[in-house]
Symmetry: D2
C-alpha cells in the first residue's frame, strides 16, 4: 500500500478565524482525508513538530510527500530541506500544492524563483485536461470547475514541465499551468495549483482525484539507484588506451 505523508504549516488554521472556519482541523487533515478515502496509507506532519515531523525515519517510510506551506516558508530548516531533497532524488514522490510554489524544497528542485502573479478575489477557476494520455488525468473528463479560488497567473517562473497535464482558466482573465510533472533523479514531482486557505478546495472531488492520481503516479516504479563515481576500469575490456 502506498504510504503518503501529508505535510502542512498548520499556522493560519490555528490563528486566523476565516481559515479555521474552512479547515478547523488543518489543511493537512482535509488532504489526508481525501487520500485515505482513496485507499492510501496516510500520516501527517506539520511545521511545529520536532524536525517539522520529517525525520529520516519518517521520510524513509514515505513513498510520496505532499507539501502545503504559505506564511512560514522561511522557518523550514535548511537541513530538513536538504534531507527531503535527497529523498526526492532517491525516488520519493513529491506533490507541491498551491502556495507551496514558494517553499524552499520546490525552489531547490526547480532552480528558479517560482514566482507568479496572484490575486485574492474568489474567482471562478476552470481546470482543463491537456494531456489525456497521462495517468494523472484519469477520471477527470475534460476537467472541472472550482467556484471560488485565489488567482495565480503566468508567467510562472518554473522550468517547462516534463509533462503539462492541466491548465487553469480564471474569470478575471488569466491562465496558469496548473498541473506540472517533473522527473528529477529517481523522483517524480507534481505541482498542483489549487488550494487557497480560505476556500474548501481540498474537499472538492476533482481536486481530491488529482491528488490521489498524482500520488499513484509519483509512487510508481523507477529504475535502480544509480552509482555515480570514479570508474577506473573501462566497461569495454581492451578497447581503451590505444
Amino acid at each position: 500500500m502506498t504510504r503518503v505523508t501529508v505535510w502542512a504549516e498548520y499556522r493560519q488554521e490555528r490563528r486566523d478565524p476565516p481559515v479555521a472556519a474552512v479547515y478547523p482541523d488543518g489543511i493537512h487533515a482535509a488532504i489526508a482525508e481525501g487520500l485515505r478515502d482513496a485507499g492510501f496509507e496516510v500520516r501527517t506532519a506539520t511545521l511545529d513538530e520536532p524536525d517539522h515531523g520529517l525525520t529520516d525515519d519518517v521520510l524513509a517510510e514515505t513513498d510520496v510527500l505532499t507539501w502545503w506551506g504559505h506564511v512560514a516558508h522561511a522557518e523550514v530548516g535548511d537541513e530538513i530541506v536538504e534531507r527531503i531533497h535527497r529523498r526526492v532524488l532517491d525516488g520519493m514522490g513529491l506533490i507541491v500544492l498551491h502556495s507551496g510554489h514558494h517553499s524552499k524544497i520546490f525552489k531547490r528542485l526547480m532552480g528558479t524563483t517560482c514566482d507568479l502573479n496572484w490575486r485574492e478575489a474568489g474567482e471562478r477557476e476552470r481546470l482543463w485536461v491537456v494531456d489525456p494520455a497521462h495517468p494523472i488525468a484519469e477520471g477527470l473528463g475534460p476537467g472541472f470547475t472550482l467556484d471560488a479560488e485565489e488567482m495565480y497567473g503566468e508567467h510562472f517562473d518554473v522550468p517547462a514541465p516534463d509533462r503539462l497535464v492541466l491548465i487553469s482558466w480564471f474569470s478575471g482573465g488569466e491562465v496558469f499551468r496548473s498541473g506540472c510533472c517533473y522527473e528529477r533523479g529517481r523522483g517524480r514531482i507534481f505541482y498542483f495549483r489549487p488550494g487557497h486557505e480560505t476556500h474548501p478546495s481540498y474537499r472538492h472531488p476533482g481536486v481530491r482525484r488529482v491528488i490521489a492520481n498524482a500520488a499513484t503516479w509519483a509512487a510508481g516504479s523507477s529504475g535502480d539507484r544509480p552509482e555515480r563515481r570514479h570508474r577506473p576500469e573501462p566497461s569495454e575490456a581492451g578497447s581503451t588506451r590505444r
Copy 2:
C-alpha cells in the same frame, strides 16, 4: 490482467535458414514467451493472417500491441494501419521494435521519415539507462550488454522523444537513442531498438525486461476519451456574447 498482442511479419523465419535457426517458431513466439513469463495475457498475430490478424475485435481486446516488421512493411494494408492508428490515439499502447522503425504505423504516428544509419556486423551493443525515474528502467541497473547486434546509428529521424530512457553504444563507434517514449492522443508509444532477426536478442533477460516494463507502462491508466467538437454553448454562462 494486461492483454498484449504480439505482432510480427513472420516471413524471414520461414524462408531464411539463418533466421529460422535463431527463431524457429518466429520472432513473435520469442517475444510472446517473454511476456507470458512476465505475467501478461498474450496472443500473437502475423502478416499473412486475414487482416494481418488485427481485426477490430482483436484490437478492441488489446491493451498493448508490439510490432516487429522488416522486409514487408509495404504489404501491411493501409486500412489496417489506420485502424491501429485510431486505437493508439484512443488509448492502446504500442511498442515498436527494431526494424519496425520503418513500419507504416510508426511513420504515421511520428510524422517523420524514421530513417537512420545501420550496419550488420554483429557488434557489441551496450544499452545505458539515462532516465532512472522512469518505470521502463525498473530492474535494469545501469543498463545491459548484447554481445552481437545490428548497429543503428544517429541521426534517427524521429521527433525528440517525450522521455528518453535508454541510449545505445556500439563497438563500431556509433550511438543511438534506443528507448524512446511518446504520448499521442490517449496512447503511449515506446520505440525499442534491439532485435535483429539473426541475433537471439528477444531471449536476452535485459531485452525481455524492457519489453515487459514497457508493456506495463503503455497499458497504464489514462484520462477519459476527449470529445472534440462544436461547442455552441460557452462553458462560462453569461460571460460571452458581448
Copy 3:
C-alpha cells in the same frame, strides 16, 4: 533576407461577403503585408494556382512557409503535401495558422488528428506568454488581447509541443495552447491559433509580431543535412568484428 511564402486557400474571401468585408484582398494579403512591414521578402501562393502555387522551385526558394486553410483542406493535392513535407524535414520553416490545424500537411507532420473544440461567438481572447526565454515571445510583454475571435478549446490533439510559448484564455471559459513549437527533421514548425476569417486578427500588431518572430525563429540556422544510409564501414576502425 529571409524569404517567406504566404499560402492561403483564398476561397471564402471571394465568395462570402462577411469574409470579403474583412479581407477584401484575401487573408494572405494581410499576412504578407505584416511580414513585409517587418522586413521579410514575401511572396504569396493560393489553392487555385497550378500546383497551388507551390512548385519545387518556389519551395526551394522559400525559407519559411505560412499556411492558412479552412474549407478546402481536402482539395490540396497529396503530392504537394508530400513535397512540402520533404522540404520541412529538410529545413524549411512552417507556420501553421488557425484552422490550418486540420490541413493535410499539419496532420501529416503531427501524426495525430489535430482535432479540437470550437465555437464561433466572437469571444474575447487573451494570449499569455508562458516561455519568456523564447525568441517568439520577443516584444510581446506579458501577452495581448483580441477583442473578438473564434474559440478553440482543449483538448487539442497534437503531440506535446517541444516548446509552448503562448496559452489563450477565452471569455467563454476555455483555454488553448496557442503558440506551439516543434522540431521535425531539420525543420521548425510553429502552430499559432488566432485568425478566424471574419475577424481582422491578421492586422492586429500582437498577431503580426508573433508571426514575424516565428518566421525569424523558423528560418534560423540548423545542422547539416543528415545522410541516413547503410554504413558498411565502422566509424571506429578495428574495434568491431569480433
Copy 4:
C-alpha cells in the same frame, strides 16, 4: 556584437606542469581565442580576481557567460553565485563546460546533484548530432571525434534537457548526453561535455564551433522581463465575481 565573458578557475594551469603544458595561458585563454576568432567580443575573468572578476557591472555587460571550474568549486562565493543566477534568469546566456557540471551555479540552476561517472584514461570520444534542427548543430555535419578525453558516463543526474543536441560515445564503452540545452526564466543554458585540463580540446575546431554556436544561441532574443506580483485588478474588467 555579442559580448561573451569567459570564466575559468585558472589554478591547475599555474601549478600543475601537465596542465600548464597544454594551456600555458590558461584554459580561458584558449576558449576566448576561439570565440574571438568566431567574431565575438570577449573578456575573461578568473577565480582569484576580486569578485572572481564577475562584478555586477561585468555581468550587466555580458550577453553570455562561459564557465570552466574543477578543483575549486567550493571557493566560489555564494553571493557571486546568486548574482549570476539572477542574471541568467533575467536573460544572460550561460555555457557550462566539462567539469563545470559540479559548479555551484550549474547545480543551483539544475536543482539536482549533477553527479556522473568518470574515468581519466585518454579515451577516444565521438560526439554525434542528434538534433539537426538545432542552431548549435550548424556546421558540425554528423559530429566529430576527439582523440583523447576524460570519460564521462551516464547516469548524468540533471533534468532531462529541453533539447538534447549531442551524445558522446567513448571507446571504453560508455555514452553521455554531451550537449544539453535548458531554458530557465528568460535565460538559456547549454551544458557541453568536453574539456579536460590535460587535453587540448578547446583548440579542436569541432569544440570551438559548438561553443561559438552555443554563444549565438544563448544570446538570442527573448521575451520581455516578466513582472510577477500582486495583481489586485482583474485583467478582465467586470468579469469576476464580487
